[in-house]
């Protein structure tokens, strides 16, 4: 009996962020009658799918105690590689995308090798990777903003619809679910968390920290590649500067979702909620036609509020201690 109560409390705690999201939705739907329409919600999901897909793989870097700043450049490069393969080399789009994915995995592998085997901080490695991948993307694309006109099958990935919903949403949901299962129910997931929580203890328990970390960067780059492909198809464009700075959005989503940048804990579903939350804020501001100067300000405040609400228990405690301090004269 006691156990089920504890479980219920745990469940409530796990769902807290979700409740915050619902609250945000409620506020927005009061502010704008257009917010809570199916069309709009599907548009929001459509607009967060690039970040959402990136999150699904990116999350393993912070869980193992690292970071991957190269996801934005990686995504841009992926679009360019895919375009070169499809429209310059002339490979059919499916094998072309497979090759693109392989390239992404390889780059993630390099990131992983340099961080683990050479012991260089992940921040530096991936920031350097962000820089040189951008350069490579510029070089390969000759700095052009390339419009992708074909093949049809490829373009359908981004703008096609299935049962009235854009295909990228299905892709996002699929990779998020896959990543959730990977984290919660597989040996790799356990190892990733263990390495982030206490590398030495994990190692003494038979986990190979280096291999786990390398895998984390491979996953991160792979997800970024998928995001890049979706983005290229969605915008019908391959361009080296695309997705520049998206790493910050991804980190925001992941951290709002409850993943610690210090390693050892993480939630894929939380990251998705984080991404959707940011998407809702942006969408709400657009619907309200709020001048763009207000956007960063409102986003910052709302994220802070959301986290405070999510923090739950700490707030009353703080208020209580304040009251105690104020109401306790002479002490």
């Amino acid at each position: 009996m006691n156990l089920t109560a504890a479980k219920a409390r745990q469940l409530l705690k796990d769902l807290r962020l979700f409740f915050v999201l619902i609250l945000l939705m409620a506020v927005l739907s009061v502010l704008s009658p257009r917010f809570l329409t199916l069309g709009n919600l599907s548009n929001v999901l459509w607009s967060v799918c690039i970040i959402g897909i990136m999150c699904s793989g990116f999350i393993y870097a912070p869980i193992t105690g690292g970071i991957d700043l190269s996801v934005g450049s990686m995504a841009a490069l992926a679009g360019i590689i895919a375009n070169v393969l499809m429209n310059q080399v002339g490979i059919p789009w499916v094998p072309a995308l497979v090759i693109t994915l392989a390239c992404g995995m390889f780059i993630g592998f390099i990131n992983g090798i340099v961080t683990t085997k050479f012991g260089v901080p992940a921040f530096i490695v991936t920031m350097a990777a962000k820089t040189y991948l951008f350069g490579i993307a510029m070089l390969v694309s000759n700095g052009d903003m390339i419009t992708i006109m074909k093949p049809k099958g490829f373009l359908a990935i981004g703008v096609g619809k299935l049962f009235g919903l854009p295909i990228p949403i299905y892709i996002m949901v699929a990779v998020i679910v896959a990543s959730h299962i990977l984290l919660k129910h597989t040996v790799f997931g356990r190892k990733a968390i263990a390495v982030g929580a206490n590398e030495v203890a994990a190692k003494l328990s038979g986990v190979d920290p280096d291999r786990t970390r390398i895998m984390a960067y491979v996953l991160s780059a792979t997800a970024a590649t998928v995001a890049g492909i979706v983005m290229a198809s969605l915008t019908q464009q391959a361009y080296a500067a695309n997705a520049g700075g998206y790493e910050l959005d991804v980190i925001t989503a992941v951290v709002v979702g409850g993943t610690s940048l210090m390693g050892g804990s993480g939630s894929v579903a939380g990251a998705l909620i984080g991404a959707v939350m940011v998407g809702f804020i942006n969408n709400g501001l657009n619907l309200l036609n709020m001048p763009s100067s207000f956007h960063p300000l409102v986003t910052g405040v709302v994220i802070l509020l959301a986290l405070l609400l999510n923090q739950g228990g700490k707030m009353p405690k703080f208020i209580l201690s304040m009251r105690k301090r104020l109401g306790d004269p002479g002490k």
């Binding site: 709009n40 700095g143 903003m145 619809k161 915008t235 019908q236 080296a240 619907l287 956007h295």
Partner: protein, 290 residues
């Protein structure tokens, strides 16, 4: 003697700045004896100022600059001119006098776009704007020109929304989607660059409202001209960027040959914008598309 010329656009990776570069390069190559170095300021005024300093320290003979901000680059232009290095600015003038400014009148072209939209809508309807980031001069001038023509000529056209698309195609898609959500009747959208106009077209097409919404861009890059031909984008304010680059290069050669060092007043050359729509886009020859 070999002349070293520096080319410093806001960023190298844009169709417009690339086309300028090509125009400059071909003209200078024909003159021989010139070495051109481009640098990428990545849209950051601070970086651009550092790069100006670097050109000056290295003793370049002339600098072709697209200032990211008029005020921010004024000090750098002053410094260059004081060291006897002539500066030619592209699109954005600075507060300090320098050798020349080759501009394509963003304000005027924005005004023309407004005029054209108003005419097509017969003076009534709902219009939305996809803006540039708040501080970006070129985008702001285009928007100002557009708003001026609306205010002056078409008081019955309502500007129902204006949002910052950060020059970015996928941001523009999201913004266009929200415009369409809020406004069941939306007649035209003016995006202050072509890239965002293309994004708006993708969103409108996906929502099945492309037929009812007239989308305008700005710049006239090759892909957008093609989209005008295929009817996705309605029109754009085209400038011949190759020509503009070539003009700057010719002026540069003039300055170098004359060896003039001080300039009391900036010589301003304005390149005329051309409104490209489905009817007129054919007049732009393939060689002039960038």
């Amino acid at each position: 003697q070999t002349w070293k010329i520096g080319y410093l656009p806001s960023t190298v990776g844009q169709a417009l700045t690339k086309a300028w570069g090509t125009g400059i390069d071909t003209t200078l190559k024909a003159a021989g004896n010139v070495q051109l170095q481009a640098l990428d300021a990545q849209m950051k005024a601070e970086t651009q100022v550092s790069m100006m300093d670097d050109f000056i320290n290295q003793g370049y003979n002339l600098i072709i600059l697209q200032p990211i901000d008029a005020a921010a680059l004024t000090a750098s232009v002053k410094k260059a001119e004081s060291k006897g290095i002539p500066v030619i600015t592209l699109n954005t003038d600075t507060l300090a006098p320098h050798f020349a400014c080759v501009t394509m009148d963003d304000y005027g072209a924005g005004y023309l776009v407004g005029e054209s939209i108003g005419k097509t809508l017969k003076g009534a309807g709902n219009v939305a704007l996809i803006q540039s980031p708040p501080g970006a001069l070129a985008g702001v001038e285009r928007e100002k020109g557009f708003r001026a023509s609306m205010a002056k000529l078409y008081p019955n056209i309502k500007i129902v929304g204006a949002q910052n698309g950060e020059w970015n195609k996928d941001k523009a898609i999201a913004i266009m989607n929200s415009f369409m959500q809020v406004n069941s009747q939306l007649d035209a959208v003016f995006a202050v660059n072509d890239n965002m106009a293309e994004g708006a077209a993708i969103a409108a097409e996906s929502a099945g409202r492309l037929k009812n919404i007239m989308i305008w861009g700005f710049n006239g890059q090759m892909s957008t001209l093609a989209q005008i031909e295929s009817g996705k984008v309605f029109g754009t304010a085209y400038t011949n960027a190759y020509d503009q680059g070539a003009i700057a290069a010719k002026l540069a050669l003039e300055a170098l040959k004359a060896g003039t060092k001080t300039f009391a007043k900036t010589q301003v050359v304005t390149v005329k914008p051309f409104l490209a729509t489905k009817e007129t886009v054919g007049q732009i020859p393939a060689a002039s598309r960038w």
